[in-house]
């Protein structure tokens, strides 16, 4: 089921706990409607990965994630044959034939070796077989250039050919969401095929709403205090400014310690949930961003 307008999609996303702003909702809507991949960039922790997951649950699609890394190749991304099981199969057939006292039929045996059940589907093949499906290609900038070219081909055809089995095509092409942290420039050819969206940190009101929807048990006051503190931290020029994910972690840490609003001592003690650098923690402890105004 595809929502008819960006607003309807935003509503459906909100229904599964993801609050998208205008731009992101329009991006998701266009990606669904035009069948184009969506390329998301933004600071770490702004909710790029969560968006793909939410898109899957909001549209009732399967969710497949491919985490990219240096050296990722087709066998790890697409499919691989399960060689040990194939050998085991061979031995079993052989032993059975020997017991029955006849020779195994080699041609049939070989054909049976390349049966679908010996094929290990890796994320890309899974995405083609499950439909409808949201495919998340996470941190594409970590993969090599060759992999980008390969991905481009798969995305264009929404089908692959396995020499021993034949062509496997998706009934509905998967909706692909690519994310990048900009450690390397992704090739223009890939970007050109995608819709591009830069995901910003949420506004104060949005952030409060996100924390509230993820952690319904915390007080409104605590959510607002944390959102305010985190928003002020982002102004502090830190090495790693906190994202939404960190804000949620921090809130649940504070709530776990029984806080109903931000208590400066508790906040200082739980800073590890939101800041990941010693220098940042020191800076924040001096700046005291939990004191509003």
């Amino acid at each position: 089921m595809i929502p008819a307008t960006p607003a309807a999609l935003a509503e459906a996303l909100a229904g599964v706990g993801y609050l998208a702003d205008d731009g992101l909702a329009t991006a998701g809507h266009l990606a669904l409607k035009l069948g184009r991949p969506l390329f998301l960039e933004g600071d770490a922790g702004v909710g790029k990965t969560a968006f793909a997951q939410a898109l899957a649950s909001a549209t009732g699609a399967h969710f497949v994630r491919l985490q990219c890394y240096e050296g990722l190749d087709a066998a790890q991304a697409l499919y691989d044959w399960d060689f040990p099981r194939q050998i085991l199969h061979l031995r079993t057939v052989e032993a059975a034939a020997a017991a029955a006292g006849d020779r195994p039929d080699t041609a049939a045996l070989e054909a049976s070796l390349y049966d679908r059940r010996f094929l290990i589907a890796r994320p890309l093949l899974q995405a083609l077989e499950l439909s409808p499906c949201v495919l998340l290609v996470d941190e594409i900038d970590r993969a090599d250039d060759e992999f980008e070219a390969f991905l481009l081909e798969i995305l264009a055809d929404a089908a692959i050919t396995i020499p021993e089995l034949g062509r496997i095509a998706a009934t509905t092409p998967p909706l692909t969401v690519l994310t990048s942290n900009r450690t390397r420039e992704v090739h223009d050819a890939l970007k050109r095929r995608c819709l591009y969206h830069w995901v910003e940190h949420p506004s104060f009101a949005q952030e409060v709403a996100i924390i509230r929807s993820r952690l319904p048990e915390v007080t409104e006051r605590l959510a607002a205090d944390v959102a305010g503190a985190v928003q002020r931290m982002r102004q502090l020029d830190l090495i790693k400014a906190p994202g939404v994910a960190e804000a949620i972690d921090w809130t649940s840490a504070l709530a776990a310690l029984g806080a109903r609003e931000i208590d400066p001592d508790l906040a200082a003690a739980t800073l590890g949930a939101v800041l990941k650098y010693r220098e940042d923690a020191e800076r924040v402890k001096t700046a005291q961003p939990w004191r509003s105004g």
């Binding site: 329009t26 991006a27 184009r36 194939q86 050998i87 045996l109 900009r182 420039e185 591009y196």
Partner: protein, 367 residues
């Protein structure tokens, strides 16, 4: 869609292209499709339809916003502000690399230069070359091919010796219907390290900027996907893309247009911080060989520079500082910025002459 609307959209895309956004054919088609898919009665829908399809990187976004406001706000779009002065700056730069003004007037000097041996030229200070010498040096710099040493990689390749390669061995067995086969072996494949070049383009580095940019061009051309180049001045500019041009002069012209702060002041700590925040920490500097070309003139607090250098040295495999003044007799790293950076350097080299640049190539290739 009406042809009127299409031509409006195409016109908008052209405006955007003139402003420097890579809004090429395929992207324009995508925009037309996007506008069609959305009911663009609301202005923000039109805004997003264009932004999602035409832009490709964060730097495009402010340009897009300005062009959208100008185009659909009814005013004629203003030409890109930086383009003309940047060209002028680049031209000024090339002229400046020759302190005698137009070198052609001094025929006597040129003849003397022609007679000078290549060996003498190799040791001449790049900041004080005549026109003919400069051309010769440019040609020689283009031949330098700096490349980093390899590091052990994660991937394997088939080899005679080394550890057993289970998948390939089992595949071999499969071919013989499960009979034991000769063991296949594999070894680690080495991977080259990334090379990151950071060029200080402030006024005090002007005499060397041309040669160092050409050096960077040679490095980028040698390994386009493994080399990154940035300029530091009052702000950070990525020039890798510009330097990928095949022709050195074309590349330098493109780089000159990209750099908004030629010969301005230096805020070394700030621009280094910008590099580390936006690129370095995310992976560009991680495990890389980072070469910083600067004289270490820092107007700000040296402690800030020291903090950023400490960060850089923790991220990078090696940090090499190239200071043209290092090669001059009697030089002592007394400039505050230089002194602050010294403890964090793996190598401190000169880079003021062709010979010094050759030495730099050797330093870079050391693992």
């Amino acid at each position: 869609m009406s042809s009127d609307l299409t031509s409006v959209l195409v016109g908008f895309a052209r405006t955007l292209r003139n402003a420097g956004v890579h809004a090429t054919g395929e992207r324009v088609e995508a925009m037309v499709a996007a506008v069609d898919a959305l009911d663009v009665s609301r202005p923000q829908d039109a805004y997003w339809a264009g932004r999602l399809t035409l832009c490709g990187e964060p730097d495009d976004l402010p340009v897009y916003d300005a062009a959208f406001a100008a185009y659909f706000g009814g005013r004629a779009p203003s030409p890109p502000a930086a383009s003309v002065p940047a060209k002028r700056r680049a031209v000024a730069l090339f002229a400046q690399a020759d302190p005698n003004g137009s070198g052609g007037e001094q025929a006597g000097d040129d003849l003397a230069v022609a007679a000078s041996t290549a060996e003498v030229l190799r040791h001449r200070d790049l900041g004080v070359l005549s026109a003919a010498e400069r051309d010769e040096v440019r040609r020689l710099v283009a031949l330098l091919a700096p490349a980093t040493a390899a590091r052990p990689g994660r991937r394997h390749r088939p080899a005679r010796g080394g550890t057993v390669d289970p998948p390939r061995t089992v595949r071999r067995m499969l071919r013989q219907l499960g009979e034991p086969a000769r063991l296949a072996r594999r070894e680690r494949r080495d991977k080259p390290r990334r090379l990151v070049l950071l060029l200080d383009v402030s006024g005090s580095m002007a005499p060397y900027a041309d040669a160092l940019l050409r050096f960077s061009h040679a490095a980028v051309r040698r390994r386009p996907t493994l080399t990154e180049a940035f300029t530091l001045g009052t702000r950070l500019t990525r020039v890798t893309r510009a330097l990928r041009h095949r022709d050195p002069d074309g590349a330098l012209r493109a780089a000159g247009e990209a750099i908004p702060d030629w010969h301005g002041g230096t805020r070394l700590a700030d621009s280094l911080k910008a590099f580390l925040d936006r690129w370095g920490q995310r992976g560009t500097a991680r495990g890389a060989v980072v070469v910083l070309f600067s004289d270490g003139w820092e107007r700000g607090d040296p402690a800030l520079l020291a903090a950023q250098m400490a960060r850089l040295s923790r991220l990078a495999h090696r940090v090499v500082w190239v200071n043209p003044h290092r090669g001059k007799p009697g030089y002592e790293p007394l400039v505050a910025g230089m002194a602050a950076a010294l403890p964090y350097l793996d190598d401190f080299v000169a880079g003021h002459s062709l010979a010094a640049l050759e030495e730099l190539v050797r330093v870079i290739s050391r693992s």
